[in-house]
């Protein structure tokens, strides 16, 4: 059983195999992701009822929540890949971490921007330091910047891989602590609405589009990540025989 899994993982980790497999998977991710996003957008904007307190302003959660969720998700993916890359010296894992970073940073920025726009009607200001989630996201953005800057500062890919992997693992230990401390630090905040004991607190007509958006964003993110890892693999393996064959075969 374990043997089979090991063989499967090894095969997956071989760059040419991954390159081919990812190419087949990407369209499925794109199509299903975009379909779900379309559903979420239409249902969320036109069919979900307005919030009794926030009015139509709440509808920004259909972008804000998936973006915030993905900013964490991308970081977790990077941390897990970095761990795999360091422990089992799997180069593909490092490529995944490197490829995920700009996506994670982008979704973090999106979460910040939408959060700030949401804050305008809610708090009357574009930025409210008292909100722990916005502050956490901001620190998260700095963590992404640090990761990408460290990578950019090291010329040699294998060295950049290992150094940035150490950084992301140290960061991963810290992220929950940062969230906890920011939570403690602020008092002015809205409690978590989605996951709450005794079921979600929001109405199903609002909830389903949100779940659709979260899943859709995740699939879309998956497609982007796979495409970026493919490009990264191609770049890293540019001197290898299989890439040569690939390019020559395509041009012939």
């Amino acid at each position: 059983m374990f043997r089979h899994m090991w063989i499967f993982l090894h095969k997956l980790a071989s760059p040419p195999h991954f390159y081919g497999l990812a190419a087949k998977m990407i369209p499925w991710f794109y199509v299903s992701g975009l379909l779900l996003i379309a559903y979420g957008t239409i249902a969320g904007l036109f069919y979900a009822p307005a919030d009794y307190q926030q009015g139509d302003a709440f509808r920004i959660i259909y972008v804000h929540v998936p973006a915030a969720y993905l900013s964490m998700m991308a970081y977790s993916i990077m941390a897990i890949s970095a761990g795999i890359g360091l422990i089992w010296r799997m180069k593909l894992a490092h490529a995944v971490a490197a490829a995920a970073a700009p996506l994670g940073a982008w979704f973090t920025f999106l979460a910040l921007a939408t959060g700030s726009i949401w804050g305008r009607p809610m708090w009357g200001t574009w930025w409210e330091w008292g909100d722990p989630r916005l502050t956490s996201e901001l620190i998260m953005l700095f963590l992404y910047f640090g990761y990408m800057s460290l990578r950019a500062a090291i010329d040699e890919t294998s060295k950049a891989d290992k150094a940035s992997a150490v950084l992301i693992l140290v960061g991963a230990v810290n992220v929950p602590i940062i969230h906890f401390s920011v939570e403690w630090w602020s008092s002015l905040h809205q409690g978590p609405t989605l996951v709450r004991e005794g079921g979600p607190a929001i109405e199903t007509a609002m909830l389903y589009p949100l779940l659709g958006m979260i899943l859709g964003f995740t699939l879309f993110f998956g497609a982007l990540l796979l495409a970026r890892v493919r490009a990264e693999v191609l770049h890293r393996e540019r001197r290898s025989r299989w890439v040569r064959n690939l390019i020559l075969g395509e041009s012939a």
Partner: protein, 204 residues
Amino acid sequence: MTELLSAKNLTVFRGERCLFHNLSFALNAGESLLIQGANGSGKTTLLRAVAGLLDLEEGEIRWRGFSTLAHRQAFHGEMAWFAHSVGFKSDLTLLENLRFESGLRSTSMGRLSAVLDKLGLTSLTQLPFRALSAGQQRRVGLARMLLANAQLWLMDEPLTNLDTAGQDLVVNLITEHLQGGGACMLASHQAVGLNSDMQRIVLQ
């Protein structure tokens, strides 16, 4: 008898370039190995990889039959490293620098005065390391090698910055070390004047 040091199928990349591929060698007690090659051919890289400063792409290095990766500390306890930057603090005196070594590794401080005498450093012990000439600084590096109870010497360009007398001294020290059952691996672009039958690896 197992070899003291053995390397199998070493492959090391520096960035894009593969410096060597499937390199194997073995070193027994009393033997020495000279790595030769032009500048940039990877002599230093090979030496650093053997010492454990660099990750190997592929291959394995064994010390007394045990993988140096898994038994790092045991290997390093029996190895001494001598490189272009000798690794002493310029603000500390010669003596302070050598005393620090004795906290890190097994060091025969009882032999200190004899070793300093042999290397012609006795009158310099209280000087800050920075005040020494390049050749004298190299000699302090040699003093560390002699004080450390290391069976394996790894030396990167041991003859640079030394006058003829200094070069002869290095050659003599290595010969003595080999006669005492030690082993030595050197990287040099000069032919080291050792008349023993040295193994050679020439890197392209």
